[in-house]
Symmetry: C3
Subunit: 219 residues, 3 copies
């Protein structure tokens, strides 16, 4: 099994787990767990393969991915009640999955098109689409609209992998660099509330001040 | 016209009708009816064809599907005000469409890939994606998050069809078995509130009890 | 550069600008601006290419589109605070983008399939999907559910272009006719609140009257 296949299996399993945890928050039945695990697990890679023209998509060519999603969905259904901080676990698993998938998506995009721009975009898209889809069908506020670094971490991981490959590093080193950078950024955002400067319509407007205060109180 | 083509036309027409009924609940104009009828009618099959690599997708190859959607949209626009229980009708039409499409999706997946796993997944996906898309763009709570059996019925129908085909039954018998099982499950869920055991985070927690009581009162 | 390529670049840039303006309303960071600009800018064309089987999709074949989205996203991030009426600008840019894309989508559909029905559908779909996606991921009420003419304008533009092409007009004249009609309808809807007759469940019911009154007061 190649390094990239392993990364792919890992990314699918991690995102499937976050999907199943979202299903547990919604108190769905077992089939609901399987559905959320599969949609979140293979969603990002499906969009990547469709846009690159790699059809049938990866999970049609190799049903192992679906079996991984099903196994993860069942395991979470049976064990999630033992986990004290499920939302906490969800966002951290999502962080690891995002890191693996930012590299995996960039690698496939680079291999097929040879274009660094496309590699960075497919990496970012693959890493973020599963979580966006999960939040959308679970009717939760999208992770996109939260203040902390998210898409940025995927973009940085995909860019680091692509740059390392262009510099001629071996695939394992490029992958490690991409995963490390993506996870460091996303993990730091989760742990220390790292944010990029946000757009502010009217700096210093009283209404804005009030809004920011209300938000920081909520946390 | 083959059996599967007939099933496909029927599935598209039924889902198109549920889309148009959703448009009537939102009090849209005629074009809004056509849009919802088309998106709901061909959404599931489009995702099926894209992932299987069957492109151009079915409604590009045969515009009859679009004409069916348009005709259904116009018919519902002209007649829906005569229907007393439109939401009731919507969910029952959705149940029949889901049953037809679980078989149709599984048949196409099995014919193209030969894999039973893929057949079950494409059947489930085709049968449920139209309704998910309809709820999403109509900004209604997703049918996925409701307690009764839904995805499960599609999964059972697709599995029954696939199993019957593997056992060597004639296509008409396999199709009938799949449709019957899917509709029996979904119809039973609608009529008798059948549910699978739902995931419960902390069995017996007071908060959970209260939540369940509030829910059963609402019905 | 051909007329259609220019239209495509213009449509992408305009929709990217509406996506970035949506990001400014959500007070996202720069990467959030880039994400919304790219998703809104290329979303419609991506769905068009996927359903027509034109893969890899256009922005994979020609990364210029992504660079346009990034440039627009950065420009809006740096300048949007100077714009007094950002929502106003968003809907008008969306109107121009919708007009360009209804023709562009119809042209590609007609060129590839030769079917006028498909051309009209791909034109409408390409012109409206970007805005639908933007509203969905920004968690804003969908433009589909607003009372004024929207999908109708895209449908009229795509139909006008297709009809003009069938009548043998030169491409530039057909494009101009389609863009003009789509923009006249959508612009009129924005300026004068043009609507088509909406579906009314029970004409004259007191509840409906009350609802309508409440709505017109809100404006």
């Amino acid at each position: 099994m190649s390094l990239l296949t392993m990364l792919d299996y890992a990314g699918v399993a991690l995102f499937a787990a976050t999907g199943a945890l979202a299903a547990s928050r919604k108190q769905l039945d077992l089939i609901g767990f399987l559905f959320f695990a599969a949609a979140t697990g293979v969603g990002g890679g499906t969009l990547r393969d469709l846009t690159l023209g790699q059809v049938p998509v990866f999970w049609v060519k190799d049903p192992t991915y679906l079996i991984i999603c099903a196994a993860v969905g069942i395991a979470v259904f049976l064990t999630a009640h033992r986990i004290e901080w499920r939302y906490h676990l969800l966002v951290w698993l999502d962080a690891v999955g995002l890191s693996a998938y930012s590299v995996m998506g960039a690698a496939k995009g680079l291999a097929i098109t040879g274009s660094p721009t496309i590699a960075i975009v497919t990496g970012t898209m693959t890493a973020t689409f599963g979580g966006i889809l999960r939040d959308l069908i679970a009717n939760e506020p999208s992770i996109l609209l939260r203040p902390e670094i998210y898409v940025t971490a995927a973009l940085a991981g995909a860019s680091a992998y692509t740059a390392a490959q262009l510099l001629g590093l071996p695939p394992a080193a490029s992958s490690a660099a991409g995963i490390f950078i993506a996870f460091a950024l996303r993990g730091g955002a989760l742990r220390y509330d790292w944010t990029l400067p946000r757009y502010r319509a009217r700096p210093g407007r009283p209404a804005d001040e009030a809004l920011r205060k209300r938000r920081s109180k909520k946390r």
